[in-house]
């Protein structure tokens, strides 16, 4: 069963990479200037004597070698115990679940829209090289690739929220209202600008890549043959080009989750949107080590899943690879 073997090799590899990510985050946090005992004591730091600190260290295992601490932490992770977030005063797992629900709409919508838009633009640009349409689209792609995400978000905020007043200035709902009271329309209204900014910024790689593939196809014998039979450029683009270019576009879209999460962090910061990205920044600014570590692992899992999906879809869609088994 080659499929099962392949799958298990992939899974093992993913587990290994995740273990390495865990090691990396643990190492980084261990080397950081944050003293876990101070963080645990909080405002009572002045009242604790040296002996009490030693007791705490022994109680929490800070006197053990780093490798033992790492093993202990991994064991806790495996049993689902992620720790306590002092910024949100909640268990870390709850913070992540709640915040991710907020980010999911933003991340998912922007991901889907940018993939579709990027692919469509790439195909359009690749149909005729150096046409005015091609120039406009690739110019757009080059410029957005060089644009700071948070700057564009800020410009959008200035134009649409402050000057024109079309969209709300911040947050995921009207201030003062509870999460459950907000209607779907209001929620979409609050999402519109963040999603639009994120989409505009993340189309560029897919567009440029699809365009390159289309140009390659338009110069290939397949296209020449079709032209000789009387097909127009648009027909060739639709029948052969879209198929030829969709595989790399799918791979790229699945592999772009990491980059997209970076964008989400910035955009949520600008729009004060209560999601995972903002929680990450808060955790880093206010030294919430357990939350930061858990988010790092969680996003690494997300990105790895994206990569694995890309690989799996490739095999499923491409008939040449399927035949090989």
């Amino acid at each position: 069963m080659p499929v099962i073997r392949l799958l298990s090799v992939r899974l093992l590899r993913m587990a290994l990479v995740l273990l390495c990510v865990a090691g990396l985050t643990f190492g980084l946090m261990l080397a950081s200037p944050i003293d876990p005992i101070d963080a645990y004591l909080g405002p009572q730091i002045a009242q604790a004597s040296a002996e009490q600190r030693e007791l705490i260290a022994a109680r929490w295992g800070f006197d053990q070698p780093p490798l033992m601490q790492f093993g202990h932490w991994l064991g806790q992770l495996a049993s689902g115990e992620l720790g306590w977030s002092h910024v949100y005063n909640q268990p870390v797992s709850e913070v992540i679940t709640q915040r991710f629900q907020g980010s999911l709409a933003l991340l998912g919508l922007a991901w889907l829209l940018s993939a579709l838009l990027g692919f469509a633009l790439g195909v359009l640009a690749g149909v005729r090289e150096q046409s005015s349409l091609d120039r406009v689209i690739s110019g757009y792609a080059y410029i957005t690739a060089a644009t700071p995400a948070f700057w564009l978000a800020m410009l959008g905020l200035l134009l649409f929220s402050v000057t024109l007043g079309w969209t709300p200035v911040c947050c995921a709902g009207p201030s003062g209202s509870l999460r459950d009271e907000v209607s779907l329309v209001t929620r979409l209204h609050h999402l519109a600008l963040p999603v639009a900014t994120l989409t505009l910024l993340s189309t560029a790689p897919i567009t440029l890549h699809t365009r390159a593939r289309m140009r390659e196809l338009m110069a290939s014998p397949v296209a020449t043959q079709a032209f000789a039979q009387g097909a127009s450029r648009w027909e060739v683009a639709w029948r052969h080009g879209a198929r030829h270019a969709c595989l790399p576009a799918i791979t790229l879209a699945c592999a772009s989750l990491g980059e997209l999460f970076g964008g989400v962090m910035l955009i949520e910061q600008v729009f004060a949107y209560p999601g995972l990205g903002r929680a990450t920044v808060e955790a880093a600014l206010r030294s919430d080590v357990p939350l930061l570590m858990a988010i790092a692992l969680f996003t690494a899992l997300l990105v790895s899943l994206g990569n694995a999906t890309a690989d799996g879809l490739y095999r499923l869609i491409d008939p040449r690879l399927r035949r090989q088994g």
Binding site: R13, A146, P148, W151, V281, I295
Partner: protein
Amino acid sequence: MSQPRLSAVLGTALAALLLAGVMIVAAGLGDAPRQMHFDARLTPPSTDFWFGTDALGRDMAARTLAGLTLSFWVGSLAALFGTLIALGMALTAMLGPRWDALVSLAIDTLLSVPHLLLLLMIAFTLGGGTHAVIIAVALSHWPRLARVLRAELLHLRQAPYVQISQALGKSRGFIVRYHWMPQVLPQCLVGALLLFPHAVLHEAALSFLGVGLSAEQPAIGVLLGESMRHVSGGDWWLGVFPGAGLLLMVLCIQRLGETLRRAWSTS
């Protein structure tokens, strides 16, 4: 566009001139970015202050220029170190299959953490500041380039002319000097130039989030972060100009990198 060569040369020259111009003007600014004009706080762009002034009456044009220079140096140092790490890692991967597996694992690990999050964690560990940003950007940006260089070296090792050279009894040093270097060095340089825009943008993002350069430095990320506080007041000039400057600088460098890549590409 009937003269692609000429337009490429002109575009590249213009980009280089623009970059050099920013550096030279910023070097002549002296103390202007920190000078406060208390009688002209938050003034919109005018003939006195081309880009307006901020809440402390500081000239935004001077601050933007100083910020661009700072971003340029931080970005170049980070791109340089990143390229060196990538080259080192690619060479390490050549030592044997075990080393290769180790390098691949490191690349996969770093690529599976979102870039900005990795930057955030490294900067957090190092406690922020200029050196922390440079180290963080260098440490998080090498994997892609290392992957390219590793593939190139693997390809090169199997190339017929290198194997013939080996069979003729040339030493390892000779092969590295005369066969590897001419292939890999241009790749490194182009890689560094293409890395630069990412480095600059991520540096600005990190400073914007408040974990990067310290707040008193006139960095683009810091300026944009400050301007966020005045967005709802409609003081648009605080954010628009520094961001546009950064965009222009990144476009210029992209242009230079693209020209070099075309000039040196072997295929």
